[in-house]
């Protein structure tokens, strides 16, 4: 415990690094994933802007990227990282990888959620003379808002998980802290306190997501 207290400044820094990585990748990856998910939903056969070429292309891309385990993905995209942000190690590099991984995961969640929207509602909007893009953004997305929020909550938890894995690659954050100050020094107090904080972050995120979704669903 004493050792943990002496590392308190590093611990605080680790928490902020985790928030930084998770925050940026959930927001940026979330937006990018939303765009990809909307494309997947809108271009599928029979949908608002069905376009076979775009749908098949994006679908294959998502299918290729998404199943790669994050630690492997982190290594696989190192050339891309180098080209885009100039480095392959550290918090920014991990954040870049997290953002991409989150985007691909979000795209499927969004697509699946939007598909569940009642086609009758889309038909009513078409019958009113609305443009496809306007139907997508002002009808389909709002109708699916509750499940969309729950989907983002799910992704948030997954990103916290991935950000901790990134500790293995010197990514900073709570994962790194648990490894360097905890398990490598056989200091289990540090490990468990770190685990407890990660659980707290996840719980808080889940709680907030549930509350927002309940409001959107009005139940």
């Amino acid at each position: 415990m004493d050792e943990f207290l002496t590392n308190l400044p590093e611990f605080r820094a680790a928490i902020w690094q985790t928030f930084y990585m998770v925050g940026i990748s959930v927001v940026l990856g979330g937006l990018l994933g939303l765009a990809l998910g909307l494309v997947l939903y809108a271009t599928r056969p029979g949908s608002l802007m069905s376009n076979r070429a775009v749908f098949v292309g994006v679908n294959i891309l998502v299918n290729v990227v998404r199943p790669i385990p994050f630690v492997i993905f982190l290594m696989a995209i190192q050339p891309l990282m180098k080209a885009m942000i100039g480095t392959t190690i550290g918090t920014d590099a991990v954040t870049f990888a997290l953002t991409l991984a989150a985007a691909f995961a979000v795209s499927r969640v969004i697509e699946q959620t939007l598909i569940a929207v009642d086609p009758g509602v889309v038909e009513a909007a078409r019958a009113a003379g609305a443009r496809p893009l306007s139907i997508l953004l002002t009808v389909v997305v709002p109708e699916a808002l509750g499940p969309v929020i729950l989907g983002y909550t799910f992704i948030f938890v997954a990103v916290v998980d991935m950000s901790a894995q990134a500790g293995l690659f010197g990514g900073g954050g709570l994962g790194s802290f648990a490894i360097t100050h905890g398990s490598q020094r056989y200091n289990w107090v540090v490990v468990y306190i770190t685990v407890a904080v990660i659980i707290l972050i996840v719980q808080a995120g889940q709680f907030a997501g549930n509350a927002l979704a309940r409001r959107a669903l009005r139940r």
């Binding site: 009758g120 038909e123 009513a124 019958a127 009113a128 003379g129 609305a130 009808v139």
Partner: protein
């Protein structure tokens, strides 16, 4: 002047990949006049859902033309269609209200699409909700309303842009009889007070009977028969129309009923179609009497269609054989619809 015109419209599609070719509509032509309520009746799978969606271009036909007013729907691009759709309201079996919007928000939606300014939008939404009797529910959400109320919101939303044409897709099929009557009353008001032309599709004769002036009977993707509601159902020429009338009125005995009647009645059994003219029944009774024939009603029913009598009566005739023959011959000569029940 015709408001909606379908000319030799055919619609076919393949079910699934490499599936069988299904013909939903087969050489359908019809005209709906401005200001009328036109009903299309048919069983599920008869093609009526496809038909109504051709009118606002939600579906495109394989061949043939669709006209609404001066527009040839089938010749318009999707972009041009959007403008025309703002002059065509549509209501649906499952209401299809936006759950994410309030009642007022639902009614305001088509106005937003049409680019109507906020102040004018609010004014019109209030007037429409007042028209359908739901002004006090403006800030509620759809799930707080009953089925009948939801459909009234659907109607208000469909009328928001003051269209001249309203399409009703099985609008009362999800409602109980009482709310069905309320919604049908409202549709009649929409037609009467606002002069909106209505095309409605249904599988229920009662809906046609309550609101429509003319009707087309659909069967297997084709129009079996078109005419005024009275003509089509009082004197059906097609088996499809006759089936609907039989199902709704149950006035003509089925073969099983005839067999049962036969067990308890020894005389000749004759079914007479009721005619909507003064003194028809009296004339009928007098003819039998003059020929020394006793006629007793043993089955049947007489109802009303567009305020005119429809139905049929089944008589047991007893008396001298030549008297019965002579009476029947007289009636047939008078143009009475008469069927002698065999068996």
């Amino acid at each position: 002047m015709s408001h909606v015109r379908l000319s030799q419209v055919t619609k076919s599609f393949t079910r699934g990949r490499n599936g069988p070719r299904v013909v939903a509509l087969d050489d359908v032509s019809l005209e709906v006049a401005k200001g009328e309520v036109f009903g299309v009746i048919g069983h599920s799978g008869a093609g009526k859902s496809t038909l109504i969606r051709l009118i606002n271009g939600l579906e495109t036909p394989t061949s043939g033309q669709v006209h609404v007013g001066d527009h040839e729907i089938t010749a318009l691009s999707e972009r041009d269609l959007r403008g025309v759709r703002q002059d065509i309201g549509m209501i649906f079996q499952q209401f299809n209200l936006f759950r994410s919007r309030t009642i007022a928000g639902n009614v305001a939606y088509p106005l937003k699409v049409a680019g109507v300014a906020k102040a004018e939008r609010d004014r019109r939404v209030a007037r429409l909700l007042d028209f359908v009797g739901l002004l006090d529910r403006a800030h509620d959400h759809p799930e707080q309303l009953s089925g009948g109320q939801k459909q009234r919101v659907g109607i208000a939303r469909a009328l928001a842009t003051e269209p001249s044409l309203l399409l009703a897709d099985e609008a009362t099929s999800a409602l109980d009889p009482k709310t069905t009557a309320e919604v049908l009353d409202l549709l009649s008001r929409v037609n009467r007070e606002l002069g909106v032309t209505i095309v409605l599709i249904t599988h229920e004769l009662d809906v046609i009977r309550a609101v429509a002036g003319r009707v087309a009977v659909m069967d297997g993707g084709r129009i079996a028969e078109t005419g005024t509601v009275y003509d089509v159902f009082a004197h059906p020429r097609s088996t499809a129309a006759a089936d609907f009338v039989r199902g709704a009125l149950r006035d003509r005995p089925s073969p099983e009923t005839v067999a049962r009647l036969r067990r308890t009645h020894s005389g000749r059994i004759v079914t007479v179609g009721v005619q909507d003219r003064t003194g028809f029944q009296t004339a009928l009774a007098r003819t039998f009497l003059e020929h020394g024939v006793a006629a007793g009603v043993i089955f049947g029913g007489v109802g009303e269609l567009q305020e005119r009598a429809v139905g049929s009566l089944t008589f047991e005739l007893t008396g001298p054989a030549e008297g019965i023959d002579a009476a029947l011959a007289t009636l047939r000569a008078d143009g009475v619809d008469l069927t002698e029940e065999e068996g």
